[in-house]
Protein backbone atom coordinates (compact mmCIF):
# COMPACT_ATOMS: atom_id res chain seq x y z
CA UNK A 1 0.00 0.00 0.00
CA UNK A 2 1.59 3.22 -1.13
CA UNK A 3 1.80 6.37 0.97
CA UNK A 4 -0.70 8.23 -1.29
CA UNK A 5 -3.14 5.34 -0.76
CA UNK A 6 -2.60 5.54 3.00
CA UNK A 7 -3.00 9.33 3.02
CA UNK A 8 -6.37 8.89 1.33
CA UNK A 9 -7.32 6.24 3.89
CA UNK A 10 -6.21 8.52 6.74
CA UNK A 11 -8.24 11.45 5.34
CA UNK A 12 -11.31 9.22 5.28
CA UNK A 13 -10.45 7.81 8.71
CA UNK A 14 -10.57 4.36 7.15
CA UNK A 15 -9.29 2.38 10.12
CA UNK A 16 -9.55 -0.92 8.27
CA UNK A 17 -7.12 0.08 5.51
CA UNK A 18 -4.64 1.65 7.94
CA UNK A 19 -4.63 -1.32 10.32
CA UNK A 20 -4.35 -3.73 7.41
CA UNK A 21 -1.24 -1.91 6.20
CA UNK A 22 0.34 -2.11 9.65
CA UNK A 23 -0.40 -5.83 9.87
CA UNK A 24 1.06 -6.43 6.41
CA UNK A 25 4.19 -4.46 7.31
CA UNK A 26 4.76 -6.21 10.63
CA UNK A 27 3.78 -9.60 9.24
CA UNK A 28 6.17 -9.39 6.30
CA UNK A 29 3.30 -9.30 3.81
CA UNK A 30 1.02 -11.69 5.71
CA UNK A 31 -1.90 -9.99 7.46
CA UNK A 32 -2.69 -12.89 9.80
CA UNK A 33 0.95 -13.14 10.86
CA UNK A 34 1.06 -9.37 11.38
CA UNK A 35 -1.94 -9.51 13.71
CA UNK A 36 -0.24 -12.26 15.70
CA UNK A 37 2.99 -10.24 15.81
CA UNK A 38 1.18 -7.23 17.26
CA UNK A 39 -0.49 -9.38 19.92
CA UNK A 40 2.83 -10.99 20.78
CA UNK A 41 4.64 -7.67 21.19
CA UNK A 42 2.02 -6.56 23.74
CA UNK A 43 2.32 -9.91 25.51
CA UNK A 44 6.09 -9.45 25.63
CA UNK A 45 5.64 -5.98 27.15
CA UNK A 46 3.40 -7.42 29.87
CA UNK A 47 5.82 -10.27 30.54
CA UNK A 48 8.63 -7.72 30.89
CA UNK A 49 6.66 -5.63 33.39
CA UNK A 50 5.83 -8.76 35.38
CA UNK A 51 9.54 -8.97 36.26
CA UNK A 52 8.88 -5.91 38.40
CA UNK A 53 12.32 -4.42 37.65
CA UNK A 54 13.01 -0.71 38.30
CA UNK A 55 11.79 1.68 35.59
CA UNK A 56 13.18 5.07 34.57
CA UNK A 57 10.07 7.25 34.65
CA UNK A 58 12.09 10.44 34.09
CA UNK A 59 13.38 8.98 30.83
CA UNK A 60 9.82 8.19 29.75
CA UNK A 61 8.67 11.71 30.63
CA UNK A 62 11.53 13.21 28.59
CA UNK A 63 10.78 10.96 25.62
CA UNK A 64 7.09 11.82 25.67
CA UNK A 65 7.96 15.51 25.38
CA UNK A 66 9.45 14.99 21.93
CA UNK A 67 7.50 15.48 18.72
CA UNK A 68 4.71 13.13 17.63
CA UNK A 69 6.47 11.91 14.48
CA UNK A 70 9.43 10.69 16.52
CA UNK A 71 7.08 9.02 18.99
CA UNK A 72 5.13 7.31 16.19
CA UNK A 73 8.33 5.90 14.70
CA UNK A 74 9.49 4.91 18.19
CA UNK A 75 6.23 2.95 18.51
CA UNK A 76 7.32 0.77 15.56
CA UNK A 77 10.85 0.44 16.95
CA UNK A 78 9.46 -0.69 20.30
CA UNK A 79 7.29 -3.30 18.56
CA UNK A 80 10.32 -4.76 16.76
CA UNK A 81 12.41 -4.51 19.95
CA UNK A 82 9.94 -6.61 21.98
CA UNK A 83 9.34 -9.10 19.18
CA UNK A 84 13.08 -9.56 18.61
CA UNK A 85 13.56 -10.02 22.35
CA UNK A 86 10.93 -12.76 22.43
CA UNK A 87 13.31 -15.09 20.61
CA UNK A 88 10.86 -15.76 17.78
CA UNK A 89 11.78 -13.28 15.07
CA UNK A 90 10.18 -13.70 11.65
CA UNK A 91 12.33 -10.85 10.32
CA UNK A 92 15.62 -12.54 11.19
CA UNK A 93 16.54 -12.86 7.52
CA UNK A 94 16.41 -16.66 7.46
CA UNK A 95 14.35 -18.56 4.93
Amino acid sequence: MSVPYLREAAAQDDLGKLVRFVRLHLGDGNEAVGKEEIDRSWAEAIKTLLRDAPVDREFIARVLETNESTLALLFFHLHFCFIRGSGRWIHDGSR
Binding site: M1, V22, H77
Partner: protein, 177 residues
Protein backbone atom coordinates in the same frame (compact mmCIF):
# COMPACT_ATOMS: atom_id res chain seq x y z
CA UNK B 1 -6.49 3.21 -6.75
CA UNK B 2 -5.14 4.51 -10.05
CA UNK B 3 -6.32 3.30 -13.44
CA UNK B 4 -3.08 1.44 -14.12
CA UNK B 5 -3.47 -0.47 -10.84
CA UNK B 6 -7.02 -1.49 -11.72
CA UNK B 7 -5.80 -2.81 -15.03
CA UNK B 8 -2.95 -4.83 -13.52
CA UNK B 9 -5.14 -6.38 -10.84
CA UNK B 10 -7.54 -7.95 -13.34
CA UNK B 11 -7.56 -11.71 -13.86
CA UNK B 12 -6.65 -11.17 -17.52
CA UNK B 13 -3.36 -9.46 -16.73
CA UNK B 14 -1.11 -10.33 -19.70
CA UNK B 15 1.87 -10.72 -17.34
CA UNK B 16 0.09 -13.72 -15.80
CA UNK B 17 -0.13 -15.46 -19.15
CA UNK B 18 2.47 -18.15 -19.74
CA UNK B 19 4.77 -19.82 -17.24
CA UNK B 20 4.86 -18.02 -13.91
CA UNK B 21 7.01 -19.22 -11.03
CA UNK B 22 4.60 -17.52 -8.62
CA UNK B 23 1.12 -17.31 -10.18
CA UNK B 24 -0.88 -14.38 -8.86
CA UNK B 25 2.21 -12.43 -7.82
CA UNK B 26 1.35 -9.32 -9.82
CA UNK B 27 -2.19 -9.33 -8.49
CA UNK B 28 -0.94 -9.68 -4.91
CA UNK B 29 1.58 -6.86 -5.29
CA UNK B 30 -0.90 -4.49 -6.85
CA UNK B 31 -3.54 -5.34 -4.30
CA UNK B 32 -1.17 -4.77 -1.38
CA UNK B 33 0.83 -1.90 -2.78
CA UNK B 34 -1.37 -0.03 -5.29
CA UNK B 35 0.43 2.85 -6.89
CA UNK B 36 3.88 1.51 -6.02
CA UNK B 37 4.64 -0.34 -9.22
CA UNK B 38 6.86 1.14 -11.90
CA UNK B 39 4.93 1.50 -15.13
CA UNK B 40 6.06 1.25 -18.71
CA UNK B 41 5.64 5.01 -19.20
CA UNK B 42 8.30 5.50 -16.48
CA UNK B 43 10.89 3.70 -18.62
CA UNK B 44 14.14 5.59 -19.05
CA UNK B 45 16.53 4.16 -21.66
CA UNK B 46 20.01 3.35 -20.38
CA UNK B 47 22.89 5.47 -21.61
CA UNK B 48 25.41 3.75 -23.85
CA UNK B 49 28.97 3.25 -22.63
CA UNK B 50 31.30 5.90 -24.00
CA UNK B 51 34.42 3.83 -23.34
CA UNK B 52 35.12 0.09 -22.98
CA UNK B 53 34.62 -1.33 -19.46
CA UNK B 54 38.37 -1.77 -19.16
CA UNK B 55 38.76 1.99 -19.39
CA UNK B 56 35.67 3.01 -17.41
CA UNK B 57 35.36 3.88 -13.72
CA UNK B 58 32.50 1.85 -12.30
CA UNK B 59 30.24 2.41 -9.31
CA UNK B 60 27.89 -0.05 -7.60
CA UNK B 61 24.36 0.88 -6.54
CA UNK B 62 22.26 -1.62 -4.62
CA UNK B 63 18.94 -1.77 -2.81
CA UNK B 64 20.29 -4.40 -0.41
CA UNK B 65 20.74 -2.19 2.67
CA UNK B 66 24.42 -3.02 3.07
CA UNK B 67 26.49 -0.49 4.99
CA UNK B 68 29.60 -0.05 7.08
CA UNK B 69 29.23 -1.50 10.57
CA UNK B 70 30.48 1.82 11.94
CA UNK B 71 27.77 3.96 10.28
CA UNK B 72 24.43 4.81 11.84
CA UNK B 73 22.07 1.96 10.86
CA UNK B 74 19.47 2.43 8.16
CA UNK B 75 15.99 2.36 9.71
CA UNK B 76 14.40 -1.03 9.11
CA UNK B 77 11.38 -0.28 11.34
CA UNK B 78 9.87 2.70 9.54
CA UNK B 79 6.62 1.53 7.93
CA UNK B 80 7.18 3.66 4.81
CA UNK B 81 10.90 2.97 4.42
CA UNK B 82 14.12 4.87 5.07
CA UNK B 83 14.65 7.58 2.48
CA UNK B 84 18.38 7.83 3.05
CA UNK B 85 21.28 6.11 1.35
CA UNK B 86 24.70 5.03 2.51
CA UNK B 87 28.09 5.48 0.91
CA UNK B 88 30.14 2.31 1.16
CA UNK B 89 33.88 2.69 0.50
CA UNK B 90 34.66 0.59 -2.57
CA UNK B 91 37.72 -0.86 -0.84
CA UNK B 92 35.54 -2.38 1.89
CA UNK B 93 35.60 -6.06 2.79
CA UNK B 94 32.96 -8.53 3.94
CA UNK B 95 33.96 -8.11 7.58
CA UNK B 96 33.53 -4.30 7.43
CA UNK B 97 29.92 -4.53 6.28
CA UNK B 98 26.51 -5.31 7.71
CA UNK B 99 23.03 -5.72 6.22
CA UNK B 100 20.21 -3.56 7.52
CA UNK B 101 17.19 -4.90 5.71
CA UNK B 102 14.21 -7.02 6.80
CA UNK B 103 12.44 -7.85 3.61
CA UNK B 104 14.56 -10.59 2.07
CA UNK B 105 16.25 -13.77 3.32
CA UNK B 106 19.92 -13.06 3.89
CA UNK B 107 21.39 -16.29 5.24
CA UNK B 108 23.75 -16.60 2.30
CA UNK B 109 24.65 -12.91 2.21
CA UNK B 110 25.59 -13.05 5.89
CA UNK B 111 28.16 -15.71 4.95
CA UNK B 112 29.37 -13.85 1.87
CA UNK B 113 28.19 -10.28 1.32
CA UNK B 114 29.23 -10.53 -2.34
CA UNK B 115 26.11 -12.52 -3.24
CA UNK B 116 24.06 -9.32 -2.94
CA UNK B 117 26.74 -6.62 -2.91
CA UNK B 118 29.63 -7.88 -5.06
CA UNK B 119 32.17 -5.43 -3.69
CA UNK B 120 35.12 -7.83 -3.49
CA UNK B 121 34.42 -9.30 -6.92
CA UNK B 122 34.50 -5.79 -8.40
CA UNK B 123 37.78 -5.07 -6.57
CA UNK B 124 39.23 -8.19 -8.23
CA UNK B 125 37.95 -7.19 -11.68
CA UNK B 126 39.47 -3.75 -11.22
CA UNK B 127 42.82 -5.19 -10.09
CA UNK B 128 42.82 -7.49 -13.13
CA UNK B 129 42.23 -4.52 -15.42
CA UNK B 130 38.86 -5.73 -16.63
CA UNK B 131 37.43 -2.52 -15.24
CA UNK B 132 39.07 0.87 -15.63
CA UNK B 133 38.69 1.43 -11.90
CA UNK B 134 36.17 1.87 -9.12
CA UNK B 135 34.67 5.04 -7.69
CA UNK B 136 35.86 5.80 -4.14
CA UNK B 137 32.38 4.97 -2.82
CA UNK B 138 29.58 2.61 -3.72
CA UNK B 139 25.93 3.19 -2.79
CA UNK B 140 23.35 1.24 -0.85
CA UNK B 141 19.83 1.85 0.42
CA UNK B 142 16.84 -0.09 1.72
CA UNK B 143 14.77 -1.19 -1.25
CA UNK B 144 11.54 -1.37 0.74
CA UNK B 145 9.65 1.91 0.49
CA UNK B 146 6.03 2.90 0.12
CA UNK B 147 6.45 6.32 -1.47
CA UNK B 148 7.99 6.08 -4.94
CA UNK B 149 7.72 9.83 -5.59
CA UNK B 150 9.55 10.72 -2.36
CA UNK B 151 12.08 7.99 -3.11
CA UNK B 152 12.76 9.55 -6.51
CA UNK B 153 13.19 13.03 -4.98
CA UNK B 154 15.46 11.88 -2.18
CA UNK B 155 17.36 8.61 -2.61
CA UNK B 156 17.38 8.38 -6.39
CA UNK B 157 18.30 12.02 -7.00
CA UNK B 158 20.83 12.01 -4.19
CA UNK B 159 22.61 8.95 -5.50
CA UNK B 160 22.44 10.15 -9.11
CA UNK B 161 23.99 13.49 -8.18
CA UNK B 162 26.70 11.86 -6.06
CA UNK B 163 27.52 9.33 -8.76
CA UNK B 164 27.97 12.01 -11.41
CA UNK B 165 29.34 15.00 -9.49
CA UNK B 166 31.29 13.52 -6.57
CA UNK B 167 32.33 10.07 -7.70
CA UNK B 168 32.74 10.85 -11.41
CA UNK B 169 31.48 7.40 -12.35
CA UNK B 170 31.48 6.43 -16.02
CA UNK B 171 29.24 3.42 -15.62
CA UNK B 172 27.16 1.89 -12.86
CA UNK B 173 26.23 -1.63 -11.87
CA UNK B 174 22.70 -1.68 -10.46
CA UNK B 175 22.14 -4.62 -8.12
CA UNK B 176 18.60 -5.11 -6.78
CA UNK B 177 18.21 -7.21 -3.65
Amino acid sequence: MMEADKRTSSAADPREVGTQLRPGLWHAINERYPGSMIRKESFVPQARLRKPLGASRLTLISSCGVQLKTDQPLDVCHPFGDFRFQRVPSGGKHDDLIIHQLKYPRDDADLDINVIFPIERLQELSEEGRLGGLTPNFFSFIGYNMDPEKFERTVAEGIANAVVEEERAECALLAPA
